[in-house]
Symmetry: C2
Subunit: 217 residues, 2 copies
Amino acid sequence: MKKKISLRVIRRISFYYEALLKLNLPENTYISSKKLEEVTGVSCNQVRQDFFYLGISIGKQKKGYLVKKLFRELKKILSIDHGARVVIIGAGRIGQALSNYKLFKARNITVTALFDIKPELVGTEVGKPGQQKPVLHVSQLEAYLKENPDIHIALLTVPEEAAQETLDMLITHGVRGVVNFAPKILKVPKEARDVQLINDCIGTSLYKIVYQLYSRK
Amino acid sequence: MKKKISLRVIRRISFYYEALLKLNLPENTYISSKKLEEVTGVSCNQVRQDFFYLGISIGKQKKGYLVKKLFRELKKILSIDHGARVVIIGAGRIGQALSNYKLFKARNITVTALFDIKPELVGTEVGKPGQQKPVLHVSQLEAYLKENPDIHIALLTVPEEAAQETLDMLITHGVRGVVNFAPKILKVPKEARDVQLINDCIGTSLYKIVYQLYSRK
């Protein structure tokens, strides 16, 4: 049975993985939870708890976790070897920022193309020199997904008015996982219950901080 | 006593508020939870539950919620009248995308300036024509905050290596609320326990989707 892993745990696991990448330790050395705390900011107690939960045990001599083993397990959970090729629907500022997000690369996630309907964007390339991605018209998406049957995930950064219909269209074309960044709670149609959807509105944390600081007591 | 309102509830409240702005109904009309579901995607049951929790009651004749009253209450919770002026530390792609985020405007949040250390960014202006914001050097931040004593909030989009020291520096200069977008869990120093911090790493939702779809069962 597959364990249910929450978003918070996935976040921490991706931090651990990135820390290992950065530290670049020899495979047969050990890393302590204290060291991982130092690099990721996650408390060493939490580190140990997470690894225990994931079934990653500490080395015999309590030197810490064997780097080789840790790498292998974290990679497995994050599907690093499998990788993921994703498209972005909406080539505005947020879409463009995500298209070159450097941490996606570390986690073996590749943005292959962006889609939009604005004539001034369609047909252009966006992103840093050497890492540019094409912006195609949304009407080309169906054909694009047929040509690239390994793409199952889309990031949605369209305006909220268009978000639900775009999600429905993506599902029709076979997309199986969507992160919606628009400020609207989208819903997966009943007939597509296996589709994974996360509503992740950017900016909500800021409203929370504003509330904490300024709301009348 | 001030109610503790969670991030999820704050998110929904900001959706309700934005829906009211968009619908632009006369003040003395009513809006139903069904209508709010239609616009925000939040189920009408959840809408009613949220309003009940917030002490916003339905009109006498069960026509729905009086627009005037609803506006007033939501504004109060989101501190719309107070507004918020914020700075962004890190003028890379994510920082620039956030600097012009249109929904901040609807919620009366103004990004006044960005700060960075890169010579090619410092001294420039970023953003859409007519809404451009200056990029200043991080060394100017202290003076800037002294000149603008109403700024208490910063959005942090610096690389994770620099994130904790930047947070510490912000707190030293009097910042009281921070949203950290870098992929590292930051901590508020013990002596500054009243500082509000939210760690909101962009992209985590995507790793979660990748995990759901591709992780070995």
